[in-house]
């Protein structure tokens, strides 16, 4: 029984916090003559891809004066025109808060915990810092699709049965039971099966060639890493029902027996 079950029925809304992935626009310099043409060029090409996606503007690497020079209203209108929906700004100097709010978007505190991400961003910002050397507009990474700092692992405790599909769209997939024939498991990262793998397993579905598949008892219908696949018929019979790791090496799948224990069964 829920405690809040009054005669009025369920509440018409709930207010909840949520962690989500969002496109972040890291701005590195605010010179309008360089920023806007490049934005137009870069985003304009991929307009259909963004399709009214919410975007967060990050100004952490822009110094105080350059921030003052930035016209927030113009930036916001430009982004809207390019098919993006700016929702907020982060890493902005305190003096600018009034102007940001006037532009009709929200304020977020600068990121502090994501050290690695910032280091990565810094390294990238070093490149276009000398724009004379590299004129090619592609080299300036103004739009970065930022993945969450820790990819999410999906853990499945039940057997994955015939007809079922389990998908880990961002990180690894761990199955603490078997993947039966007729079932399908997919992950952006690695796939671990702590049981028999009898169905289909596809790791690195977004193209991660470093993804691997591990299984305690390997007899899959099909395995694939980053699009390279192999059907059961092509597997080395010596590997069937062994503990096997599958990886991608020089463009083809490599299967090797792993684990140092000997079974006394």
């Amino acid at each position: 029984m829920k405690p809040i079950n009054l005669s009025a029925g369920t509440a018409p809304f709930e207010l909840k916090g949520s962690v989500l992935t969002i496109i972040v626009l890291h701005i590195k310099e605010t010179d309008a003559n360089r920023l806007y043409p490049q934005l137009e060029k870069k985003i304009g090409q991929a307009r259909s891809f963004f399709n009214n996606a919410p975007v967060l503007i990050d100004l952490s690497v822009v110094d105080k004066e350059s921030q003052t020079a930035l016209d927030f209203v113009f930036l916001v209108t430009t982004l809207r025109r390019l098919g993006l929906v700016p929702v907020g700004v982060r890493g902005v100097d305190q003096d600018q808060t009034e102007r940001v709010l006037q532009a009709g978007i929200g304020l977020l505190p600068a990121i502090k915990t994501e050290k690695t991400v910032e280091a990565y961003a810094d390294k990238h910002s070093a490149e276009p810092a000398s724009p004379e050397e590299k004129k090619s507009p592609e080299s300036s990474d103004t739009v970065t699709c930022q993945a969450p700092s820790v990819a999410l692992t999906k853990v499945i405790t039940q057997p994955v049965r015939s007809g079922q599909q389990v998908f880990a769209p961002q990180g690894d997939l761990v199955v603490l039971s078997s993947v039966n024939a007729g079932a399908e498991v997919l992950a952006a990262g690695n796939i671990h099966v702590y049981g028999a793998l009898r169905g289909r397993a596809m790791a690195g579905i977004n193209g991660d060639a470093a993804a691997r598949i591990f299984s305690l008892q390997c007899n899959p219908e099909l395995v694939a890493v980053a699009g390279e696949y192999m059907v059961n018929e092509l597997l080395d019979t010596a590997l069937i029902n062994q503990s096997v790791m599958i990886s991608l090496e020089d463009g083809s799948l490599k299967l090797e027996v792993i684990g140092s224990f000997t079974s006394f069964a």
Partner: protein, 283 residues
Amino acid sequence: MIADIFNNKEEQELAKVVVVTSGKGGVGKTTTSAAFAAGLAIRGYKTVVIDFDVGLRNLDLIMGCERRVVYDLLNVIHGEGSLNQALIKDKRVGNLFILPASQTRDKDALSMEGVGEVIAALQQSFDYIVCDSPAGIEKGAMTAMYFADEALVVTNPEISSVRDSDRIIGMLASKTRRAEQNLSPVKEHLVITRYDPIRVNKGDMLSADDVHEILAIPFLGVVPESKSVLAASNSGIPVTLTDDSDAGEAYFDMVDRFLGQDRPFRFMDVPKRSFLSRLFGTQ
């Protein structure tokens, strides 16, 4: 004649709904439903067995009541007859009732709400409701499993049957009332029928262990491949009501295990040959 159906159940918990399902056809769902329901009734539980195979009804034949069917499940759902009129009392076991399926209609005529109402009404007066599911994963099978509290997953020891059962077990965990309302999951029991230990030893047939390992649900028992099953079916007697039947004994073991008693597993190994038959090399 059947005025006493609804009045002799004391105040207690609602009847348990048990679905007999498999995915694949021809594995012994109806035989199991009939034998299991008769077994529960003999053990003293008031039991009704419902045929959900609309259009291909068989349960009445196996139960030997095909010549007494007046109204069926769909008549009750559509208000053309009352539940009392549709229930057929078994002539051999007092506690046993059959609710037949319609032979003339389409499976789509089974409405989830209608079946829910029928089951809710039956729960008031019975101890066990056994639902004989049709094969497949279409509406009939989905309706049969939707209200289940427990499930007998009937499997033959061969790979296609095992795979279909695997699919059904997945659906029991996602497409039932218990799954949709976040109640404790449907309790599954593995029943392996047409088991032949000699062929298992030869490697022609999957062993009970293999099947159990793949499906990973609690094991209720095996029913040996037996001539008595066909004979009983053709004469309209649930195999648990026949004398001297190994399959009947196997079903009784399962009923008792289902009811929480400890019974040693039988019929799993090749019967030992006597000294003389070994000497003369006969089987």
